[in-house]
């Protein structure tokens, strides 16, 4: 009988199936980062002067900062001057309808399994596609417009809704927040913008699909979602990238703002190219995601399934300002081969009776390292705050690492915090049990891993849950025992 380890090995040898490159003519800047580049970028996007200045201030901030080194992930220093800060598929004009999109790009998305047309009609999901740095198409726009929901690319939002952008951009993640957020603020190229007006329940899932295509570039998108009083929106994000030997940087910023009684549900299935078995290439996924529950009884829920990227380093957080607001974080992080993940969340309790719940499942295989790092901070004003944190790790094979670094800081006596964590492996018993009932080893592993992650998977919207389950299987292919 093949041992669990052999199965794990088979799993790990599986290849990344999104690793194709699309030959698209592109428009790009030569590598380098300075004020001139930022000005050109801003000019290219025909941005107003205040935004150009905002970018320049962020750039100055960035240049004065140092690369942080407290994290568990290790990587060679990044040469920020060797990156091209703008790469866009070349087009004369922005397409007026979906039919005008470059057929090559269309084919790329078809390969990814998300034919635009089909998604639009069958799935009823409104999708914003970001190809390299530029938003390619936004489907279902008209239907959303009728409800007053604004769902467009960031560049478009800057043109069409400058007052909203100006009010909220950088209000959750200020430009000087951290090293990569400052970089993003200076050079962000595009991203999605969502505004849900008062009392509107967005009738469909909004979704963005990110793809890095060009070599020698990074992707710096910026997403801003505002849910006005009493509104609800569910937003999905997916990502892939071609296989390359070089490491590419993805430094995005996501800001969420929930006003009174609003709810935002943000789901991510992250499947950037993780590098090959020896750890060559792959995406550095250094993302700042933060949501502010500004209003009373507001709610922000983060769900993430992280299977890709050579290095994942992000902490989707909630600032629970409004009384009775709720923050949730559900995460599955899978690492294989030589991937590194240092991910978790921050829950900052400010308002009274704020509640947060954290469920994190880390699965490490191969020679990877998987770290949960989280902060629960309860400030003096957070009367009656509640937090429950659970983080479980599963190790597959004996050369990987699983780490847990929770910080709990409490300044209010009525607060109640609980944290628990466990570490386990797929036991021979569990596998044997499945095997003797005729389930193949690989299926048994997928079954056990899916069971381990069930609490998180249940939080994903339907369309994503199916994809995420498949992804889990694929990322662990060749790895389990």
């Amino acid at each position: 009988m093949a041992t669990a380890f052999d199965t794990v090995k088979d799993y790990t040898e599986a290849e990344y199936k999104y690793g194709f490159v699309t030959p698209v003519e592109e428009d790009r800047f030569p590598p380098g980062l300075n004020e001139e580049v930022v000005r050109r970028l801003s000019a290219k996007k025909e941005e107003p002067a205040w935004l150009t200045e905002w970018r320049l201030a962020a750039l100055r901030r960035f240049l004065s900062m140092e690369v942080p080194d407290w994290q568990k992930v290790r990587f060679a220093p990044i040469d920020f001057q060797a990156i091209s800060y703008y790469a866009a598929p070349r087009q004369k004009e922005r397409p007026k309808s979906l039919d005008e999109i470059d057929p090559e790009i269309r084919r790329t998305y078809d390969k990814l399994g998300i034919p635009i047309r089909e998604q639009e009609i069958l799935a009823g999901v409104a999708v914003d596609y970001v190809f390299d740095s530029v938003s390619v198409a936004t489907t279902f726009k008209r239907k959303l417009e009728q409800l007053g929901v604004i769902f467009c690319s960031m560049s478009e939002a800057v043109r069409e809704h400058p007052e909203l952008v100006r009010k909220y951009l950088g209000s959750v993640v200020p430009p000087g927040d951290n090293f990569f957020a400052a970089l993003n603020s200076a050079v962000f190229s595009d991203g999605s913008f969502v505004y849900v007006p008062k009392g509107v329940r967005c009738p469909m899932e909004l979704s963005t699909y990110f793809r890095i295509n060009a070599a020698g570039t990074g992707q710096f998108e910026r997403t801003l979602i505002i849910a006005d009083e009493g509104s609800y929106v569910s937003y999905l994000e997916g990502c892939t990238a071609p296989m390359r030997d070089e490491n590419q940087l993805h430094a995005a910023v996501v800001e969420l703002v929930a006003l009174d009684d609003a709810e935002i549900k943000y789901s991510t299935v992250q499947n950037w190219y993780p590098g090959d078995k020896e750890g060559r290439g792959g995406i550095y996924n250094f993302v700042t995601k933060r949501g502010a529950c500004r209003g009373k009884r507001s709610k922000i829920s983060w769900t993430q399934v992280e299977t890709g990227s050579a290095i994942t380093w992000k902490y989707p957080s909630c600032i629970l300002q409004g009384d009775d607001s709720v923050g949730e974080f559900y995460s599955v992080a899978v690492t294989n081969h030589r991937q590194q993940a240092d991910t978790g969340t921050k829950m900052i309790h400010i308002g009274k009776r704020t509640r947060s719940r954290i469920v994190s499942k880390g699965i490490s295989a191969g020679r990877s390292d998987n770290t949960y790092r989280g902060l629960v901070r309860i400030l003096k004003s957070a009367e009656g705050a509640r937090n429950h944190t659970q983080c479980d790790s599963m190790l597959i094979g004996d050369r990987c690492g699983a780490h847990t670094v929770p910080y709990i800081e409490v300044q209010n006596k009525t607060a109640r915090c609980e944290h628990e964590a466990t570490t386990s492996k797929i036991s021979e018993d569990q596998l044997f049990y499945c095997r003797q009932r005729g389930i193949s080893e690989e299926d048994a592993v997928a079954l056990i891993v899916n069971g381990f992650c069930r609490e998180v998977m249940n939080e994903l919207p339907m369309e994503f849950a199916v994809e995420a389950r498949k992804l889990l299987g694929i990322s662990l292919e060749g790895s389990v025992g």
Binding site: R61, L395, P406, K413, R416, C417, E418, H419, E420
Partner: protein, 455 residues
């Protein structure tokens, strides 16, 4: 706007250099070249490492500079009457002990006679004469990148050298009592202890830190433990620093196969008390149990740091720490279990429970796991909350005053750890001090009841 780079270390106060230059010729073993060199190196290392700030991850919760980076003078000889020290002499009539006041051995209260053949219990000053090379080697081998350890190496004055030969079980408990008096100008002392247990040897060690007097004082203690295979050590620590007294205590230890180490720490008082543990498990069958309780109130901070390295598989470790935070107290816990590659079948637990009794207090906890082996059982838990309202109501409804009810519940919370102290006299001292501390209208009869129940 330029971001100001906040520094992770501060240059030590120049008073340290002055004190070292002045004191170096008079420190134990200063005439011995290797020992003097180790001290010089230690001091240079201290200057290079500097005083950590809260930007340093290891000191995130604790501003140590406020008590450690100020002009301090080395302690001078202080006379104390016996009745002030008497309550702290633990271990019963058979106990052997070394008593230090401000880092100086007090032979009149110390008693190490009649020990079995091969047992060594001597003060650091004596060890510097009898075994200077071994002492130099022991001081030199500990470089943990921690500035206060380097500072201790430079200044090590009080302290002890303890060795038990293989197979010897010392029945009488051994007490190390450190008394600090403090003064107008803050006083510093740097006890350094080396404890070595041979194969299968066994010892009960009572380590007591007591602050008497109002003045400010810093005790910077380092204890190096080495337990050979099969050795057993019961280690009771009672820490009762004065209000202006601070204690930085580091324990560095290695545990051989089948060794058993049980440590229980009870801390009451102290401006800043940081207990650091770095323990390495080097063989299978080790049983390592660390527990502690502290009750920081206004102006007090308790900081507990634990790192347990499972370098070999098949061993068990357990951390169980509790904090009760009153008024403006501050409690911090940072525990870490590291399971090294290949340390399969490791069994490790970590638990930190906190009672936060005031809105002005603060609890920070960081229970960490770092695991590089797949066939292990590791888990941790941390909680923080106030007293259970139901339990409080239950006692109140039976006519017990609010303050007393509160004291009973807090006592019950802490008693779980106090009950783990191995020595009955240590337990009694901890109990008495805790009950006195909780006060809150507890009358004599009730104190007796509480004590009676605990016994």
């Amino acid at each position: 706007m330029l971001a100001v780079k906040r520094t992770r270390r501060l240059d030590p106060d120049p008073a340290f250099t002055a004190a070292f230059r002045e004191l170096a010729p008079r420190l134990p073993g200063s005439a011995n070249e290797p020992l003097a060199r180790i001290r010089e190196e230690g001091f240079a290392r201290f200057l290079a490492l500097g005083i950590p700030t809260q930007r340093d991850e290891a000191w995130k919760f604790t501003n140590v500079a406020r008590i450690a980076n100020r002009p301090m003078r080395p302690a001078t000889a202080t006379e104390l009457p016996l009745d002030r020290v008497l309550p702290y002499l633990l271990g019963g009539p058979r106990a052997r002990r070394l008593v230090f006041v401000d880092g100086r051995l007090q032979p009149q209260w110390s008693h190490t006679g009649g020990l079995p053949q091969g047992v060594i219990v001597e003060s650091l000053a004596r060890a510097a004469e009898t075994r200077p090379l071994a002492l130099a080697e022991a001081l030199g081998e500990l470089d943990d990148g921690r500035s206060f350890t380097a500072l201790n190496t430079a200044f090590a004055d009080g302290g002890a050298w303890i060795e038990l030969p293989a197979g010897l079980a010392l029945e009488a408990p051994l007490q190390l009592l450190f008394v600090t008096t403090g003064g107008e100008v803050p006083v510093m002392s740097h006890p350094r202890c080396v404890l070595r247990l041979g194969d299968g040897a066994s010892l009960t060690l009572l380590e007591t830190h007591v602050g008497l007097g109002e003045g400010a004082a810093l005790t910077n203690a380092v204890l190096q433990l080495a337990l050979r295979p099969g050795a057993r050590l019961e280690h009771d620590r009672i820490q009762l620093p004065a209000a202006q007294g601070s204690l930085l205590a580091k324990i560095d230890g290695s545990l051989g196969a089948g060794a058993r180490y049980r440590q229980t720490t009870v801390l009451l008082g102290g401006a800043l008390v940081r207990n650091e543990h770095e323990l390495r498990i080097d063989g299978p069958g080790v049983d390592c149990l660390l527990s502690g309780v502290a009750v920081p109130g206004t102006g007090e901070q308790s900081d507990i740091v634990v790192r347990i390295h499972h370098r070999a598989g098949g061993s068990h470790s357990d951390q169980y720490f509790k904090h009760v935070v009153e008024d403006r107290g501050h409690a911090a816990f940072a525990g870490k279990i590291v399971v090294h590659p290949g340390a399969q079948k490791t069994n490790a637990y970590q638990k930190n429970d906190n009672l936060l009794l005031s809105d002005d207090g603060e609890v920070d906890t960081k229970p960490e796991l770092e695991i590089y082996a797949d066939d292990v059982k590791c888990s941790h838990g941390a909680t923080c909350g106030e007293l259970d309202a139901g339990a409080l109501f239950y006692l109140r409804s039976r006519g017990i005053a609010r303050q007393a009810a509160r004291a009973i519940l807090v006592h019950a919370f802490a008693a779980e750890v106090i009950g783990r102290l191995a020595d009955p006299t240590a337990r009694a001292l901890a109990e008495t001090r805790l009950v006195a501390r909780l006060g809150g209208g507890l009358d004599g009869a009730l104190v007796e009841t509480v004590l009676g129940e605990a016994a």
